[in-house]
């Protein structure tokens, strides 16, 4: 709507998804331990309640989007359709290895997160295709999302990070927002951490190790200077965010 109101965009055709009920639904599959969320479920539904219990990092990300009015209207489908590197749900989908279910004239297909976002506002959606729903696993262990911005509300991320600790598998995954053309999954830092220390339940991590993890995470970022911030500050931010999230995940 902002494009239409302020930038003279004139839609010829509008597809209203409001009445497509299945896109507004979400479900928890106990056997597979997954949650599937319809593309038109608003952030306000994810902020609290059952989804927040099952996928806390997604709830935290949802809570940082815009304002209550924006969260009542905004959806994962819209965040994925826009595919901005600052989209708050996207680092969470990346760190959780989400699967995006697409539907289009050729039928349905599933795309892993790693193949979905291709660049700044570029995604794998084909012509006539749209996002039906998104599946994420329910993980045993801590997960969290953190965002740096100039204010506490109504702010686009200067830098953001989502960390997920899987205590069953002994894995940590971390993904960064607003510090590159796509969401950045820090696989080198993840691998280093896995080799250096145990991440299973009860594992301890010393402060130096967390700092080193932050440094390695920030090495994988590819931020730029723009009107919102500088590359140097963004690099600094993600180092601190990664360090803090790691410490929180073990607290």
């Amino acid at each position: 709507m902002v494009e239409v109101n302020l930038h003279g965009r004139q839609p010829q055709t509008v597809i209203n998804l409001r009445r497509v009920e299945e896109l507004h639904e979400w479900s928890h599959r106990h056997t597979q331990q997954t949650v599937t969320i319809g593309s038109a479920v608003p952030y306000s539904v994810m902020e609290t309640g059952k989804i927040a219990e099952l996928v806390p990092a997604l709830a935290q990300a949802a809570r940082t989007v815009g304002s209550p009015q924006i969260r009542a209207a905004g959806t994962l489908g819209g965040n994925l359709g826009t595919c901005s590197p600052a989209g708050d749900s996207l680092p969470v989908l990346s760190a959780l290895n989400a699967v995006i279910h697409l539907i289009g004239p050729q039928g349905t297909r599933d795309v892993a997160w790693g193949e979905f976002m291709l660049g700044v506002k570029k995604n794998a959606l084909g012509s006539g295709e749209f996002v039906h729903s998104i599946t994420v696993p329910v993980i045993q262990g801590w997960q969290g999302y953190a965002k740096v911005g100039t204010r506490n509300a109504m702010v686009i991320a200067t830098a953001s990070a989502c960390l997920v600790r899987d205590t069953e598998e002994g894995l940590i995954s971390i993904a960064l927002g607003s510090v590159g053309p796509t969401i950045i999954r820090c696989s080198q830092a993840e691998k280093w951490l896995r080799k250096t220390t145990s991440l299973r339940a009860g594992a301890q991590i010393n402060a130096d190790l967390a700092v080193e993890f932050g440094r390695r995470v920030s090495d994988e970022a590819t931020p730029i200077d723009d009107h919102r911030s500088t590359a140097a500050y963004r690099r600094h931010c993600v180092a601190i965010l990664a360090q803090r999230l790691l410490v929180r995940s073990l607290a």
Binding site: M1, V2, V4, N5, L6, R9, Q10, P11, Q12, T13, V14, N16, R18, R19, P42, S44, G66, S67, P68, Q69, I70, A72, A73, N152, A153, M154
Partner: protein, 164 residues
């Protein structure tokens, strides 16, 4: 629906409990525009038209939303409540009176948006904490009052409703 097809078509919006036919509208019109320019309901104000200021806040199916970001034609089959629909027979609600008493209205441009947002807040959470009040009004911008008097107004309403 294409723009041509919609040309003279009529769609109907349900606002403040009444059905309003909308004629000759362009498909890209926002709910804010249709309310103000086509339905004669100028209570919701347009300032930024990009979802940042909240002066256009209305309640749609029990959710406070920015009417500038809602495509009007997509609001068919929803229940829309605007500031005009809050008081009975043109009288002020307790929230509107408290805004006046606390000095929460100065230039008044943001006021309808705040009033709708506060109605929605207290309908869904009658006893919000200070943080919850701030959080729920974080999408409404006021350039005049500095917000202190607006918070004060909300607290007046909470204690009045408690007492009665």
């Amino acid at each position: 629906m294409s723009a041509q097809e919609l040309g003279n078509e009529i769609y109907t919006l349900k606002v403040n409990g009444q059905s309003h036919p909308v004629k000759d509208a362009w498909i890209g019109e926002s709910l804010l525009y249709v309310l103000r320019e086509r339905l004669g309901l100028p209570g919701a104000k347009g300032a930024c038209e990009q979802g940042e200021c909240g002066s256009c806040t209305v309640v749609m199916d029990s959710q406070a939303v920015c009417s500038c970001l809602v495509m009007a034609a997509a609001a068919v089959d929803t229940e829309i409540l605007t500031v005009e629909g809050l008081g009975e027979n043109g009288s002020l609600t307790d929230i509107q009176q408290a805004f006046l008493a606390a000095g929460g209205v100065q230039c008044g441009f943001c006021t309808p948006g705040f009033i709708v947002a506060v109605h929605h807040l207290l309908d869904s959470n009658p006893e919000p904490s200070d943080d919850q009040i701030r959080e729920s009004l974080s999408g409404n911008i006021c350039r005049c009052t500095g917000y202190g008097r607006i918070l004060e107004a909300v607290k007046i309403v909470i204690s009045q409703r408690d007492a009665s």
